[in-house]
């Protein structure tokens, strides 16, 4: 226990918090985080909320402003029922990637929990949001809140003008395609706010182009049409919502704008979906080291430190595969373990580490190693590069192959032969591109029935789930306005494995 207790400030176990306390905690942590750790932060705005508001923030996918849709009501109803029955406890905080960085904290956290939350979100997540390359490239932190304000009002206005149900049908369809409403490679980088201005002009321009295109009599078009069409429509296109917004012939301008809103939100969240492990790992590692510094400085008493360790260890618990509580890999646990391991490798490497990580082993500066990793990776590449044998052994990871019929085959375990395979498989596990179907729009049949053609490149024989695919294609056809065909094509042999057709429902959109 540290002897020096600075001024009169001491965090005791289960102590109530005050606004002044929160300020003091923040001001204590800041010089450590910015000085010693070298974190680079957005200004912080801490917002204290009640349980109901926390449930609400959950159910509107974590954004403080959101347009109205029944699915958020559904999520709220479900979360509330789980919460009331005691099956689920609420998160301690929610943090928004915005500038200033918004951190929502629950009113009934103790002072220690609030300190933990500030360390975790206001420093950890905040640094990650501001510095990770994906976020820098894809999101505009200062524009998201104004943009959501715009989106909310725009959709409310549409509801007033065209009726709730008409808007709901477009939103339902757009939500169904939300996972395929992101650009995986950069198109071009302009801020959301700028885009809003450009949008009107561009839309009118494209509409004009499209109308001319539809108007051309079909026999005048050259016979080798496919390549030409692909050029005209800039196909193939993986961002289905983008394609529909720009090129679907029958949509009204407000419907295009709704698609655009959903697409922009999907794009905003795309980096978060790719960096869950790193983001939580970074935040957990930061809160762990910060809280320990506070303890060393005598600002946290022993009881409160136990309270902290209890909360911390329940966050980073990883149940074994055969434990009843097992539900996959805990990103907090693995993320924290990897960050801690990286810091260890930088300071006290073993012989093994020197072989695996010649660049960073023994560099002596753990924070610069971590900052570098946090800035330049997403989960998949981070694991591919930094998952160490040490962590694999600690988690006793093993990989099994499942062909859907035969017994599971244990492919690799935590031994010398297994490390590389496990690293590879785990990286794949966190690779969105492998876990979401790769679907592209490949052609539009202009001569015939204006049918839209899509392809799903099937990897390892992993076909689409049939039921949901049919439903989504129904929505897609509604938006496109004409028939839609999807072919599932084996990526290796180019063989067509399965086909789907969908026709638009009358008067749906």
């Amino acid at each position: 226990m540290s002897a020096a207790i600075s001024d009169d400030f001491l965090i005791r176990p289960h102590q109530e918090w005050s606004f002044y306390d929160l300020h003091r905690v923040f001001e204590r942590l800041r010089p450590i985080a910015e000085g010693e750790f070298g974190l680079d932060l957005y200004p912080v705005q801490l917002e204290v909320i009640s349980a109901e508001q926390m449930l609400d923030a959950y159910s509107s996918i974590g954004l403080p402003l959101m347009y109205r849709h029944w699915s958020f009501g559904k999520r709220f109803a479900r979360e509330e029922a789980l919460y009331r029955q005691g099956y689920a406890s609420l998160a301690y905080e929610i943090v928004i990637n915005s500038n200033p960085c918004l951190v929502y904290v629950m009113e009934d956290n103790s002072l220690l929990m609030q300190s933990l939350v500030i360390a975790h979100a206001a420093f950890g997540h905040n640094h990650f949001f501001k510095n990770n390359a994906l976020f820098r490239q894809w999101t505009d932190a200062s524009a998201i809140i104004p943009y959501m304000e715009f989106a909310k009002n725009y959709i409310a206005k549409c509801e007033e003008r065209y009726g709730e149900e008409a808007v709901e049908r477009v939103l339902d369809a757009a939500h169904a395609l939300m996972t395929h409403g992101v650009d995986r490679c950069p198109r071009k980088k302009i801020s959301l706010s700028e885009e809003e201005k450009l949008e009107r002009e561009r839309q009118m321009e494209e509409q004009r182009m499209l109308e001319t295109l539809w108007g051309i009599p079909s026999r005048k078009r050259p016979a080798s049409a496919r390549a030409e069409r692909q050029r005209l429509f800039s196909l193939p296109e993986e961002n289905i919502l983008y394609f529909l917004e720009k090129k679907a012939p029958l949509l009204k301008p407000w419907q295009r704008e709704v698609l655009r809103i959903v697409r922009n939100i999907a794009q905003y969240f795309y980096p978060q979906r790719q960096t869950r492990l790193m983001n939580e790992g970074c935040a957990t590692y930061v809160h762990y080291t910060l809280m320990n510094r506070l303890y060393e400085q005598g600002m946290v008493d022993d009881g409160a430190m136990l309270e902290f360790l209890h909360a911390h260890s329940s966050v980073i618990t990883q149940p074994d595969y055969d434990h009843p509580a097992f539900s996959g890999i805990n990103v907090y646990a693995l993320g924290f373990a990897m960050m801690r391991d990286l810091a260890r490798i930088a300071v006290a490497p073993t012989e093994e580490d020197r072989v695996w990580f010649p660049d960073i082993a023994g560099s002596g500066d753990p924070w610069s190693v971590l900052r570098e990793a946090w800035a330049n990776h997403r989960d998949e590449s981070f694991i591919r590069q930094y998952l160490s044998p040490e962590v694999i052994r600690r988690f006793r990871l093993f990989s099994i192959a499942d062909d859907g019929e035969n017994d599971y085959l244990v492919e690799a375990i935590h031994d010398e032969q297994g490390y590389e395979t496990l690293r590879w498989r785990l990286a794949d596990h966190f690779d969105l591109a492998r876990n979401e179907p790769q679907i592209e729009i490949v052609d539009v049949d202009l001569d015939g029935d204006r049918c839209l053609e899509l392809e799903h490149r099937v990897i390892d024989g992993r076909l689409l789930d049939e039921r949901s695919a049919k439903l989504v294609l129904g929505h897609l056809a509604d938006l496109w306005g004409y028939e839609v065909r999807l072919a599932e094509i084996d990526a290796e042999s180019d063989r067509v494995l399965r086909r789907y057709d969908a026709a638009p429902r009358r008067n749906r959109i």
């Binding site: 074994d320 085959l409 031994d415």
Partner: protein, 424 residues
């Protein structure tokens, strides 16, 4: 760091989403609500749990089938396997296939509906027949109500606020010089005259003009006057009384009473939604009738014969004593197994026809049967009432023998088209 306390923000931010959600899931919620109501009694307060399947609430997305193709799972906590081992599929059980937790099935979930939402859904689109008194045009049921403004009227009814507002507007519009302006000019004139300035004449002329304009435009003009207007409007009776009549003779079993109770509950909920104040009068009868409290009404039995007219007499007495027709909407629901002393039927019908039905908004007769009783024909009482219904009196009648019939029967009775329906 900024700290903002959001706890005081208005609650219920999620309400519009919830309304949309309930609208969306209405069909399923309705089914669930109705099923629940046939199982258990309608609770008087508190929230109701509703369990619905997620069909209409599905949010489909393209996703890979959890079954097709080859997949690799990574799991922690290996204790006994080495590379190349085979793990039998069954042994893995639920979570073993690390992280592939999502199944393709349709989700179902439970949530709570609050009291109002529940009742609204439950009684949705039902309507009370003859909601308001038909003959309310008599003098003593009219009352004076404010009905806007008029330009003439008694001085006592002058609306000062509005009058002054209009006056002010007119004065501003016509640029009536303010007292302050005149004072300023007077002061200016006095100063100039004292100094012997030549501009004094000019200012004096201006002052005269301003004074003239000030006098020409009155402070208050007859144009500004507004009087409160009153009009006589018929006063609708906003209170309802519900008479529950029940046969409690030995032939009514506990199960049959329970059916009746269900029906009364529904009727009460329903009336409560429509009227500001609803009172319930319980009258039970054998060969004598008595007004009792709810507990006695449903739970104690009595022996004796069955004379329905005694209950009707009691009802008439109470109506005259406590519930004058011009202030109360009167509803009555009678539950019986159809037994009555044959000699009494004539009298019962006469009482109903001459004294009760003309005053009632609605009279419902519920004949409860034993659950296994499919054979017995119509009771005498039923036949007697049927004639009344055929003659167009506001009486509705149904037979029930099971709990789950109560709600449909109730719906039938109050769905907008069914007014005085004659059962086939």
């Amino acid at each position: 760091m900024n700290i903002i306390d959001r706890r005081l923000n208005p609650r219920g931010k999620n309400l519009p989403n919830r309304q949309r959600f309930i609208r969306r899931a209405k069909q399923q919620i309705l089914e669930s609500v109705r099923e629940a109501s046939s199982r258990e009694s309608l609770r008087e307060d508190g929230d109701s749990r509703v369990n619905i399947r997620g069909d209409a609430l599905e949010e489909p997305q393209f996703r890979l089938s959890p079954r097709a193709g080859t997949r690799f799972h990574i799991a922690p906590g290996n204790k006994r396997y080495v590379a190349g081992d085979r793990i039998p599929r069954e042994e893995e059980g639920r979570g073993g296939a690390g992280g592939a937790g999502e199944s393709g099935g349709v989700e179902s979930f439970e949530f709570a509906l609050d009291r109002d939402e529940f009742v609204d859904l439950f009684l949705e689109d039902l309507e009370l027949p003859h909601l308001m008194k038909k003959d309310f045009q008599t003098d003593d049921q009219e009352k004076l109500e404010r009905a806007g403004y008029q330009r003439t009227g008694a001085a006592a009814n002058l609306d000062l606020r509005l009058t002054m507002r209009l006056s002010l507007a007119r004065r501003i519009a016509l640029h009536r010089p303010k007292a302050k302006e005149i004072e300023a000019l007077e002061a200016e004139l006095a100063r100039l005259e004292e100094a012997g300035d030549v501009r004094a004449a000019e200012v004096a002329a201006q002052l005269a003009r301003v004074r003239a304009r000030h006098d020409r435009i009155p402070f208050l003009d007859p144009l500004d006057l507004r009087y409160r207007r009153f009009a006589f409007v018929p006063k609708p009776a906003t209170s309802a009384v519900m008479f529950c009549l029940m046969d409690v003779s030995g032939s009514m079993t506990a199960a049959m009473k329970d059916l009746a109770k269900q029906f009364y509950r529904l009727l009460y909920l329903f009336l409560k939604r429509r009227y500001r104040k609803v009172e319930i009068v319980f009258i039970r009868h054998t060969h004598v009738a008595r007004e009792v409290d709810e507990e006695t009404f449903f739970h104690s039995t009595e022996s004796g014969g069955t004379i329905v007219s005694t209950a009707l007499r009691e009802m008439i007495r109470i109506m005259e004593e406590r519930y004058p027709v011009r202030d109360w909407n009167i509803y009555a629901a009678q539950a019986s197994d159809g037994d009555n002393m044959p000699v009494d039927n004539h009298q019962t019908v006469a009482l109903l026809r001459d004294h009760i039905l003309p005053l009632c908004q609605y009279y419902a007769y519920l004949e409860v049967r034993q659950e296994d009783d499919h054979l017995s024909g119509m009771s005498d009482l039923w036949r007697a009432y049927q004639r009344l219904a055929q003659d167009g009196y506001p009486i509705a009648m149904r037979r029930v023998s099971r709990r789950n019939q109560i709600y449909p029967v109730f719906r039938q009775l109050f769905s907008p088209k069914t007014e005085t329906e004659v059962p086939a």
